[in-house]
Every structure is written in C-alpha cells, then in structure tokens.
C-alpha cells in the first residue's frame, strides 16, 4: 500500500482541518461521504414511498372505500410514483456511482467535488417540497406521476410544489451526470482504457449521457405546465390552440429513456456480481457494452408505445410497436450473457448472488410482459390496467431494486469494513422475492380481467386477488425493515471484512483496504 494509506485516518487537508459532526456531512466534497448520503437519502425516500404504497394497498384490501377518500388515494398513487422514481431509485444509483466509480477506475475523487456536494444537497429540499405538498390546500399532485394535462393544469398548489421539486431533482441529476461523465472520460487510471472499465462504469457512463439528454426535456415540459397554469400560455390547453397530447409526446420523450436510466446501472451491478460468484470472467464483455449502447439509442425512438390509445395513425403504431420489440434483442443479449457467465462456473450463492439471480429471473418476466404490452392491439386492451402496474413493478422493483440490494450486499464489506449477517441477508432475499411475487403476480390476472389502475374501489370479482396483493405488500414492506436492521448492524460491527471478501471479485475497488479509507488512489494505480 502507498504512503497515502499507511498513516492513520487523521488527515489534515493542507491548511484546513476536516469539520466534524453535522458540518462534516454538509460541507463534504468526498465522493464516499456523498455516496453514503445519497444511499441513506434514497433509502429514507424508499421507506416514505413504501408507506404511501401500503396506504394504497390498505384501501384496496377490500372493495368499497374504507381508509382514504378517492382524492387522497389519487394523491397517494401520484406521490408514490414520483417519490419512488425520483427520490428512491435514481438517487440510489447515483449513490452507487459516487462510491464505486472513482474506486473502480482508480480516480482519487469525482471530477467536480463541490458540484457533487451541491447535487446531493439539492435533494433534501426537493423531498421536503414533495412531502409538504400533502398539506397545502387541495393536497398533493394527484394526476399520476406522468403529470398529464389537463389534470396537471387544473390542480391546486400541490402541483406547483411537485413541479418545483422535479425541477430541483432534475438539476441535481444533470449535475450528477455531468460529474460522472467527466470523471469517467478524463480521470481513469493510466492503462484503464474504456474497454477495460468495469461494466458498472460503462452502464453509468451511458446512463449519464441519457440523463443529460432527457432531464432538460422534462424540465421543459413541466415548465410549460407551469406557464400554462400561471402565465396564460396555452401549450396544452385546447381552447387556446394547445394540445394535451403534445404533453404526452414531450413527456415520454423523456419518460422512456428514463425507464432505462433506472435499469442500465442495475445491469451494470449485476454484471459485476455474477462473474464474481460464478468465478469466471463476464461472458461477452464487448457485446454487453454494445448492447447497453443499443438499448440507450433505441430508447429514443419508442416513446409513443406509452400512448397507443391517444389515436395515432396505424403507421405510427406499427413503427413504435416494432421499434419497441427490437429492444428485446440487446436485452436478450444481456440476459444470455449473464446465463453464459454462470455456465460451468463454480458458483456460490451468497446474498449478492441470490439477489442477482433473482434479478435475472424476475426481471426477465417483467421484460416479457413488456413485450406483450408492446403489441399494439393487446396494449389497447391492457392500457391503464393492473397488467401495466404488474409489468412495471416487475422491472422496477424486481429489476432496479433487487439489483440495488445485490449491490449493497456486494460492496457493504468495502464500505463498512464489516461482513453483514449472511443468514439474515439470505432471509431478506427469500422474503423479498416471495412477497414481491405474492404482491405483483396476481396483479397480472387483475389487469387481464380488466381492473383499471389508479382506482380506490373496484368491482367485487377483483376482491380475492386484491386481498392477496395487499398481504404480499405488507410482507414486502416489513421485510425491508429487516434490511435496515442488517445494514445498521453491519455498520456497527460484525466480522472484519478482508480487502477482497469475495473470492472471485475483480476490480480496483478490492485493492484498497476495507473499509475504504477516506482518500484512495491519490496516486493513480497502473492498470496493465
């Protein structure tokens, strides 16, 4: 180890001393501190969004209105979506990027350390705006997370708060992405060519480009809503010559790449974990890189499959249907590469590997329901039913979230210096995967039978499946408290982790001590 790491943790940064306590976290420019804050923030928002989801499921436990009024129910669905997408999943991946990208490419820190601090500290005010919007007259935004007009143009001040929150979250994402792109392009260790980078860095590089390309478009779309609401513009107001369908086109130009923004880093995490526990190098590294890029490019030409029912010409429907199905090809390449990596590997199933395998299995099911929904005539039947709800929870919960869990268990020894409790970790996996399927598998049946999404009440024939789904949801929610316990007890103690706790793990991050010291790679490593 270099001199940098050998002296004890008491650094003085040249002239100024490190603040302690709260000020350490507010003023920090250290990528590891910021990564940690991102992860805690997103976990907090995950619990908040989860509580909203459980309130929804409580209302849906039985037909009829028991717990919340329909207006409140609409607010809960909307805010559950907004908080989970923008407050939980996206910041969690940025947290991983902050922690792992400098460690994986051998950089001392992110390229713009102060901007990094700022992009994190924009998040709590945005989250606060979202939460307090429940308490303004008219309540929180209630038009669905997609904010379609005319509802979003008519709603009370809760919508303004949501729009401001999205502006802030978007600015934070853009700054985070600029940081990630710059770090990856300019700060790799000598010898670390792009095609030698760990796949997690690759997927994040592409994700960051996607974010830079589409977050400004979302900002534009919601700015148009804001001016329609307050400044007498008529972008989406039919009476003034505008068109509500225009919003859907602009929104989904952002929204579809956004879907891949939430899954590509998950692909990256899984591509790190499977080779480590199969003790084989990743099968088809180059094809993985190209598949990721193809998915990113294709994501810009499929947006209208979210809106097959607005009444578009058949030619357009056919184009978007075929383009959407085309995405199954690079995604299939990825899934087969993971399976081929496992093929004849000497596999062990520690918790990260369990979550990664669970990811492949359940995410693929979500992918297939996506293919079903891509077929225009079927989509017109299933549009806005629970089948869609089941589909996107299979890819977002079992996809993104399971990959996040996998990544947390995989790198937790590096972050904390302790091993987590393997038994409890495995219990967390099995409870999660079982309750996840109990919650969402039955929703396929509900959707096929015609139950619409975003309704607080439903016809009697849907009662049994809804009851099962609610029971599953509570099981899934409580299981995440176990996750919290595992994390906290791993931070506070446990078996000392070796520098490289996983036998088959590859990459620069395992060459630094566990826990990773405050400063790493101040002298760049040389990669051959």
């Amino acid at each position: 180890m270099q001199a940098t790491h050998s002296h004890p943790a008491v650094h003085d940064h040249g002239a100024h001393a490190q603040p302690t306590g709260l000020m350490r976290w507010i003023t920090t420019t250290n990528h590891k501190d910021i990564g940690t804050m991102y992860l805690w923030f997103s976990f907090t928002m995950f619990l908040v969004g989860g509580i909203l989801a459980l309130m929804l499921r409580t209302e849906l436990f039985q037909p009829g209105l028991q717990v919340v009024e329909p207006e409140v129910f609409n607010q809960l669905t909307t805010m559950h979506g907004v908080i989970m997408v923008f407050g939980a999943i996206m910041p969690a991946f940025v947290g991983f990027a902050n922690w792992m990208i400098p460690l994986q490419i051998g950089a001392a820190d992110m390229a713009f350390a102060r901007m990094n601090n700022w992009s994190f500290w924009l998040l709590p005010p945005a989250a606060l705006l979202l939460v307090i919007s429940f308490f303004v007259p008219g309540g929180a935004a209630a038009g669905g997370w997609t904010l379609y007009p005319p509802l979003s143009v008519q709603m009370g001040p809760g919508m303004d708060l949501a729009i401001f929150a999205l502006h802030i979250l978007g600015a934070s994402s853009i700054m985070g992405s600029i940081n990630i792109v710059t770090t990856i392009l300019n700060m790799r260790a000598p010898g670390m060519t792009l095609m030698k980078m760990p796949l997690f860095c690759w997927t994040w590089l592409i994700t960051a480009y996607l974010l830079i390309a589409v977050m400004p478009v979302l900002a534009g779309a919601i700015t148009m809503i804001l001016t329609d609401r307050h400044f007498d513009t008529h972008f989406f107001n039919a009476a003034g010559g505008g068109d509500p369908v225009l919003f859907q086109h602009v929104f989904w130009f952002f929204g579809h790449p956004e879907v891949y923004i939430m899954i590509l880093p998950a692909f990256g995490i899984v591509s790190e974990i499977i080779p480590a526990f199969a003790r084989k190098p990743l099968f088809g590294y180059t094809s993985m890189v190209y598949a990721t890029s193809s998915i990113a490019i294709l994501s810009f030409i499929v947006w209208a499959h979210h809106m097959f029912t607005v009444g578009m010409p058949a030619t357009a429907q056919l184009f978007f249907m075929y383009a959407t199905m085309l995405i199954a090809v690079p995604t299939g390449v990825k899934v087969f590469n993971w399976v081929a990596t496992m093929w004849k590997g000497s596999m062990t199933f520690e918790t990260p590997m369990l979550f990664a395998c669970g990811f492949i299995f359940v995410f693929t099911m979500g992918g297939f329901t996506g293919l079903i929904l891509a077929i225009t005539p079927i989509d017109i039947q299933l549009h806005d039913t629970y089948f869609v709800v089941a589909h996107f929870h299979y890819v977002l919960v079992a996809g993104s979230l399971f990959a996040l869990f996998a990544g947390v268990y995989y790198w937790l020894p590096k972050w904390t210096g302790h091993m987590y409790n393997e038994t409890l970790g495995k219990a967390h996996f099995w409870l999660s995967v079982i309750f996840f399927n109990v919650t969402f598998f039955v929703q396929h049946f509900l959707g096929l039978a015609g139950m619409p999404r975003r309704v607080p009440d439903y016809a009697l024939q849907f009662a049994d499946f809804n009851m099962i789904s609610t029971i599953g949801a509570f099981g899934f929610g409580l299981t995440q408290l176990l996750f919290l316990y595992i994390i906290v007890s791993c931070i506070r103690g446990g078996e000392k982790a070796a520098d490289k706790p996983w036998e088959g793990a590859q990459g620069l991050e395992w060459t630094v001590p566990s826990p990773a010291p405050h400063h790493t790679f101040e002298t760049p490593p040389v990669v051959r």
Partner: protein, 218 residues
C-alpha cells in the same frame, strides 16, 4: 493484471498531468452544459415541430375550415348518415349551450346545417372557444366543416344569447359501416383562468336575458 504504481509519481510529469486533467474537466463540463441547454431548448422546439407535423399530416385540423374540395362531390342518395349533436361546457364556463336539433339525417355529399344556441349567464363578458370531437373518432376525417362557430373565438357580452350555425358535408367516401356520427362540441373559456373564486354562481341567478342582435351571428 492490476498493480499499484511502484513509485510515487515523478513530480513534474504528474503535476502537469494533474493540471491538464483539471483543464480537460473544464472542457468536458462546458460541452455537457451546452448539450444540457440545447436539450432544454429541444423540449420547447418539439412544440412547433409537432404543430407542423400535425398540420402536414392533417392529424389535428379540427378547428380549421375544410376548404379542400372532396374528390367526389356527388351526393350519395343511396344511403344516409345520422349526425347527432352534443354540446358541453367546461365546468367553470358560465354559459348555456345546446343545439336546436338533437340530430339530423343527411346523405353523404349533401350540405347539412344545424344551429347551436349559446347564452352567457354571467354578469360579465366571457370569451369561449369550442373544440369539436367525433364519435367514432374515425369519422372525423370524413366530416368537412364548411362553416362553424368553432373557427373563431366567441365573445359574449353579459347576458347575451346568440344562435350560431354550423354547415358541413359528410364525405361520400365515409366507410359504409359508419351510419351514425356524433359531433360533440365543448366550449372552453379562453381568457386564461377565470376568476373561479368570485364564481358565476352569484350572477347565474340573474335573469338570463334574451336576444342579442342577430347580426352578430357570423
């Protein structure tokens, strides 16, 4: 495969690379900020883009005069189509609005006319814009409006009542299985968002007085 550098960096070379990394980072930052700004503009550029697209492809010309002549001007007396008229108001518009006839039977190619009556029951002048929609949606492209109050904004003085015509031709190439077309108009208030608070309710009870000069009908 991966090793740490064996030597601490030779300082001059390293210092220069350090400085050049900072410079490179600046350049990358500037480029990415330009991309960000361009994409923000692109979002707004989509507005005229889609407007043009709809105009060129004829997808969204519902409040424009259909002045291009149908290819076949022959009146097809062999069949007739029932056109049903529907009238709606956006909730906050203090008007009444109804067609004088509920439906009309026309032959494809024949000119049909119907009068809609609209009254402003508020104590203030209100401007509205009517937006048509068709059921089945497919029928929209075969429904040619020659004259319509929806081509212009309508301003009604306080208490004014107005009768407004619409003249139309159903294109003879209308698919044979369509024998009923529902034409539905919704009036929206134009002047931004009305003072919904000081709502029309207070004025609504005032007697809705009659007959604006007929000359105001366009």
């Amino acid at each position: 495969m991966i090793e740490r550098a064996a030597q601490p960096p030779a300082s001059p070379a390293d210092a220069s690379t350090g400085a050049s990394v900072v410079a490179d980072n600046r350049v990358t930052l500037r480029k990415l900020l330009v991309v960000t700004a361009m994409m923000f503009g692109f979002g707004f550029a989509l507005v005229p883009f889609y407007e043009k697209l709809c105009e060129v492809t004829g997808i969204n010309r519902i409040v424009k005069r259909d002045d291009h002549q149908p290819a076949n001007t022959q009146v097809d007396t062999s069949r007739s189509v029932t056109v049903e008229f529907d009238a709606n108001l956006r909730s906050n518009l203090p008007w009444t609005f109804k067609p004088l006839e509920g439906s009309l039977k026309v032959h494809p190619g024949e000119i049909g006319t119907v009068i809609y009556e609209v009254s402003n029951v508020a104590g203030r002048a209100v401007t509205g814009q009517a937006i048509p929609s068709y059921g089945p949606m497919l029928a929209g492209q075969f429904f040619r409006k020659i004259e319509c109050f929806c081509f212009d904004k309508q301003e009604l003085a306080a208490g004014e009542t107005r009768q407004m015509p619409i003249a139309f031709v159903v294109d003879p190439s209308l698919p044979a299985d369509v024998n009923t077309i529902t034409l539905s108009f919704t009036f929206f208030e134009v002047a931004g968002r009305s003072q919904a608070g000081s709502s029309p309710l207070a004025t609504a009870s005032a007697p809705a007085t009659v007959a604006a000069p007929q000359s105001k009908i366009q």
